[in-house]
């Protein structure tokens, strides 16, 4: 592994993966305990519409993706705020709408065509210094928000109705959570792709939930799992010369499928 890191692009890829892991571990935990994986998938995929908007109107991709995914997140928050479990049709529609919008806008943009695949699976080997800086800033923003409002996020996630009765602004926090999901998408869609976003949001947190005593420890464990998946994935991708984003997902998926065996062993020990 060490000799791999003599290349700057590999170092940057590793840093990008680790920075993405921090955001995904924290927000992924909130996504999993609130059971809004489908909403997150919707925001991540609809963000592709932002890619189309950016290219059609000649904006910076990050502005297009960021603006559009925040708008989609706000619409989804408004739809789901009162009936979280009965809005899956609307989420599905927004999901497909965003992607279709992206494809069509890129079709009608004259000249150069972007590669859909690079946004779906990312291009982690082309991460630049400024990408890393942006990821670091967004990590710090998310970290600060979740530390500051930890007990309030914990309360709405565990028992929203009770939290509301106790004066916690559950609706505001629901909007804030979906906005943070949009930020995570912006931060890593170009780097690791929107399919990897949803994999890193859900799989590490889902595995960690089983071994965690508190939401805080679930967040930390998720970050660790996510870092592990990224490092193993990058190493395998380099060793076998295969696509890095997809390899990272394969590692995460492998852990996802075999972890029930470990859980059973851990249960037997007790």
């Amino acid at each position: 592994m060490i000799e791999v890191l003599q290349f700057e692009f590999m170092r940057n890829a590793l840093y990008a993966g680790l920075l993405a892991s921090v955001a995904c571990g924290i927000i992924g935990t909130l996504v999993v305990v609130n059971r809004i994986v489908f909403i997150s998938g919707g925001i991540a995929h609809a963000a592709y519409g932002g890619v189309g908007i950016a290219f059609y109107f000649g904006l910076a991709p990050l502005v297009g993706i960021g603006g559009f995914s925040l708008v989609i997140a706000a619409i989804m928050a408004a739809v789901t705020v009162n009936s979280r479990h009965r809005s899956d049709t609307v989420i599905g529609a927004l999901w497909a709408f965003g992607m279709a919008l992206g494809v069509l806008l890129i079709d009608i943009t004259p000249g150069y065509n972007v590669d859909l695949m690079s946004y779906l699976f990312g291009s982690i080997l082309t991460v630049s210094k400024s990408d890393l800086l942006l990821m670091l800033i967004l990590d710090l923003v998310i970290l600060a928000a979740v530390i500051l409002f930890y007990k309030d996020f914990l309360a709405i996630s565990f028992d929203e109705e009770f939290a509301t009765a106790m004066g916690v602004p559950a609706k505001v926090l629901h909007f804030a959570l979906l906005a943070m999901i949009a930020l995570v998408v912006v931060m890593i869609v170009r780097v690791v792709g929107l399919i990897l976003v949803i994999a890193l949001l859900s799989i590490p947190a889902y595995i960690s939930e089983k071994y965690s005593e508190s939401m805080r420890s679930m967040m930390i464990l998720s970050i660790m799992f996510s870092c592990l998946f990224v490092m193993m994935g990058l190493w395998l991708a380099y060793s076998f010369n295969i696509t890095s984003g997809a390899t990272i997902i394969m590692v995460a998926a492998a852990f996802f499928f075999i972890h029930p065996l470990f859980a059973r062993l851990a249960d037997k020990k007790q």
């Binding site: 305990v33 059971r35 500051l148 409002f149 930890y150 007990k151 309030d152 914990l154 309360a155 996630s157 565990f158 028992d159 109705e161 009770f162 939290a163 509301t164 009765a165 106790m166 004066g167 916690v168 602004p169 939930e209 089983k210 965690s212 005593e213 508190s214 939401m215 420890s217 679930m218």
Partner: protein
């Protein structure tokens, strides 16, 4: 000036065009011990959520100690039904109990030492302090109910709202709970919502029956009109072996 613990004026509420509550008027004095009864789907839990400010009425208003519910959250204790809790949620008994302090705690702050002390006291009261580190999903239904009661008590409430508090607890704890509530009632207003007439005990001071409309009776008994209105099959309910003091001959009214 006299303030009511709860004041409800001409309250209407509907879910997706389905009228759940209409024309509800209710005044509850401080230190009342009221049972709100009604069959499943009668709107009694909805009424509770309206009093807590979790739901907003279509028409009319609710005041708790003379103010809107969201302004007196630090005076409110709430024990919800044990039905829709996520059992895999990673949280300890103690951390769940601390949430009872949310009405006092400031936003964007951690819980204080006082908050923790109050949570400890509440857990000791319900006999769950030894279990404080356990995962909430690993408790039995009765133990979890004790924790939810502790969570409500941790906020040191002036009014306590309980939704089916004895649904999942054993007989023994049920008796213990009502004995405890009777003592608590010396300083705290208590409202208990139930579909089960067995909550009517000698501790309860007044009864309201809900079935879209609300009928209030300032004594621990149900008139036959209230029963007829709230339940369509009074005979079946009476046959559950209730203490007969609960029912009064309709000639008396």
């Amino acid at each position: 000036m006299h303030t009511w613990a709860v004041e409800i004026q001409d309250l209407w509420f509907s879910y997706n065009d389905h009228q759940v509550l209409q024309e509800v008027n209710l005044n509850i004095a401080e230190k009342a011990f009221l049972a709100i009864l009604g069959p499943n789907g009668s709107g009694k839990t909805t009424l509770l959520k309206l009093m807590l400010g979790v739901l907003k009425p279509d028409r009319g208003w609710v005041r708790i100690f003379g103010q809107e519910p969201h302004k007196v959250v630090h005076k409110i204790g709430y024990v919800p039904q044990d039905t829709n809790i996520n059992k895999s949620f990673p949280i300890s008994v103690f951390d769940a109990t601390l949430m009872g302090r949310l009405g006092h705690a400031k936003r964007a702050r951690r819980y204080s030492a006082h908050d923790r002390a109050m949570a400890q006291k509440a857990l000791e009261t319900v006999g769950m302090w030894e279990q404080r580190k356990r995962h909430i999903g690993k408790l039995s239904g009765g133990q979890r109910q004790r924790v939810f009661i502790a969570r409500a008590l941790a906020g040191d409430p002036d009014i306590l709202f309980m939704d089916e508090p004895t649904a999942s607890v054993d007989r023994e704890f049920q008796t213990e709970l009502y004995e405890f509530l009777r003592k608590l009632n010396e300083s705290v207003t208590i409202l208990v919502v139930s579909h089960d007439l067995s909550v009517l005990s000698s501790y309860i001071k007044s009864v309201a029956c809900v079935n879209q409309k609300l009928f209030y009776h300032d004594a621990a008994e149900i008139t036959s009109e209230m029963l007829d209105m709230a339940y369509h099959c009074p005979v079946e309910l009476v046959a559950h072996g209730l203490p007969h003091r609960v029912l009064r001959d309709h000639e008396d009214d």
